[in-house]
Symmetry: C2
Subunit: 315 residues, 2 copies
């Protein structure tokens, strides 16, 4: 079983800790704020019973998982003998550079150094390091213990072995690793999300549809098939001869609308008033926290549903 250090135990770090500990890995929790690792553990104590009740702990009792999590006071201690470091410090280039220099100096040479960053390219904070071949980005969607996909992003110098070992570590933890071939701003998921959001904001800004109608179009429409097949398999099954047939039949529709997607609407401009008015009408500010808990329960129920259909209908 692997030993893992979680470096930075805030919102993202504590969630990774749950995912890795559930997989049977031994976890050291370290944060530069001495209290933070303790607080993360308190949070995890609260979440585990919910996961167990939703059959999302592989039959393990919460205590068994908790036993694998150890807050430690010194970074060097957290890094002792680890196979994988998951770094979750603030999204600031200078911070990442300093942290990765220290990780590379302190961690055993065979340890992989992975950053959870969503905004910075791995090349930007690992170039000068002696151990840069073992550095990469492993970016989750939140929370990773409920969302399997995580994207592995190499810098130009990241070794293939680093990518393979990390993909394997994630797979053994029930994750679905996306193994990117080279780095690009936004990685894969935020680029796809961004492309869709740009069109969503444009449609609302230009007065074609309401905020709620966009959400209906996904939650009662497009995202149903995508939630178990993805977009390529969806179009592969949407023409009798498969994806090539689909492209030959329908590409014209999409290439016709492409020119009207070249203009960016400022999301923080007038359209945000429309978007926020609609959202706050449906969900008052005081209910945001409660609704986030509802979302996590929905994600748990969906994870259980997908496991069931995988058993009954196959992958």
């Amino acid at each position: 079983m692997a030993r893992i250090a979680i470096v930075g135990t805030g919102f993202v770090g504590r969630a990774w800790a749950i995912s890795y500990a559930r997989a049977g890995y031994d976890i050291a929790l370290w944060d530069q704020d001495a209290d933070a690792a303790r607080k993360a553990l308190d949070y995890i104590v609260g979440v585990l019973p919910d996961l167990a009740a939703n059959d999302l702990t592989d039959g393990q009792a919460p205590e068994v998982i908790l036993d694998r999590l150890k807050p430690v006071a010194r970074l060097a201690e957290a890094l002792e003998g680890v196979d994988h470091v998951q770094e979750n410090t603030p999204e600031n280039l200078e911070v990442k550079r300093a942290v990765f220099a220290e990780l590379d100096r302190l961690a055993a040479p065979e340890a992989v150094l992975a950053s959870s960053t969503s905004a910075l390219l791995p090349s930007a904070f690992t170039e000068g390091l002696p151990g840069r071949r073992r550095c990469l980005v492993v970016h989750p969607l939140n929370p990773p213990y409920l969302i399997p996909a995580a994207e592995l992003v190499p810098a130009p110098w990241t070794s293939p072995e680093t990518m393979e070992r990390t993909a394997d570590l994630l797979r053994r933890a029930g994750h679905a690793p996306i193994v990117m071939k080279r780095e690009i701003d936004g990685f894969l998921m935020n680029r796809l999300q961004g492309a869709l959001l740009e069109e969503a904001f444009r449609l609302v800004a230009d007065g074609y549809a309401s905020v709620e109608d966009v959400d209906i179009g996904l939650r009662d429409g497009l995202a149903l098939r995508w939630s178990f097949m993805g977009p390529f398999e969806t179009i592969d099954l949407n023409a009798p001869g498969g994806v090539r047939d689909y492209v030959l039949r329908y590409q014209q529709i999409y290439s016709n609308i492409f020119p009207s997607m070249q203009r960016r609407v400022d999301w923080a401009g007038p359209v945000i008033e429309t978007v926020e008015a609609d959202r706050r009408k449906r969900l008052p500010p005081s209910d945001l926290g409660r609704r986030a808990m509802w979302r996590d329960r929905q994600l748990m129920a969906l994870a259980a549903h997908k496991r069931r259909t995988r058993r009954e209908l196959g992958d």
Copy 2:
């Protein structure tokens, strides 16, 4: 209860027939090919037991639903006393113009005339009609008896009453109508799908990720939350202060990547070889039909799951 005429009973028409008949509406099936309506009925006979077995017929026996479906030989007969016409003829402007002229001439003045077209704007084939105020597009995702969303698209002259009556008819059939405010190429869902697909094809063509990795990014990542919340609610819950807070924190990431989305990759160019090779490796051509049945079973299971969570967790 409403009376509905299905005009054109192929792939799309027969699926609408199931959705409307399940809602209790009386359905006349007409197709210019005299055999087609009969064949559509045979198809429906095959599907209904599956729907009943998945608790997707509101407890109604298949025979009860079948009783509401009547193939008729003459168009005038199909249109007698109808409240709503759902037209599903070939995606050809001249055909649509001719069909709509005939529908407008033959149908009682209070009937709504709805086209299932995905490719043509309603203004393009209804402008010259005396009854153009009652014409619109009602575009489903396939199959509509498993996917609630359907987009209502007005021509500039479509009356508000036509939009309201149609939205109401769909809601009573368990649909989630998207009520667009004005027409635009691609409507809402194909525009959102297209925006995402453009980025998906670009990422594969430029060698950043595999076809399968894009699908993982949706089916194990982005589409999980979207499948019960949609993209606006997702970002509303992804920052402590709601959607405005999200936009202020993260818009920069998206505006940075926008310029790299201005170039269109020809989907039928070299990239289609990569896409097809990957898809055909995972799914041989002979398995496309079997896989489409798997997709429909997945959609049925997901519909049942969403009904259950709505009951247990609320909307």
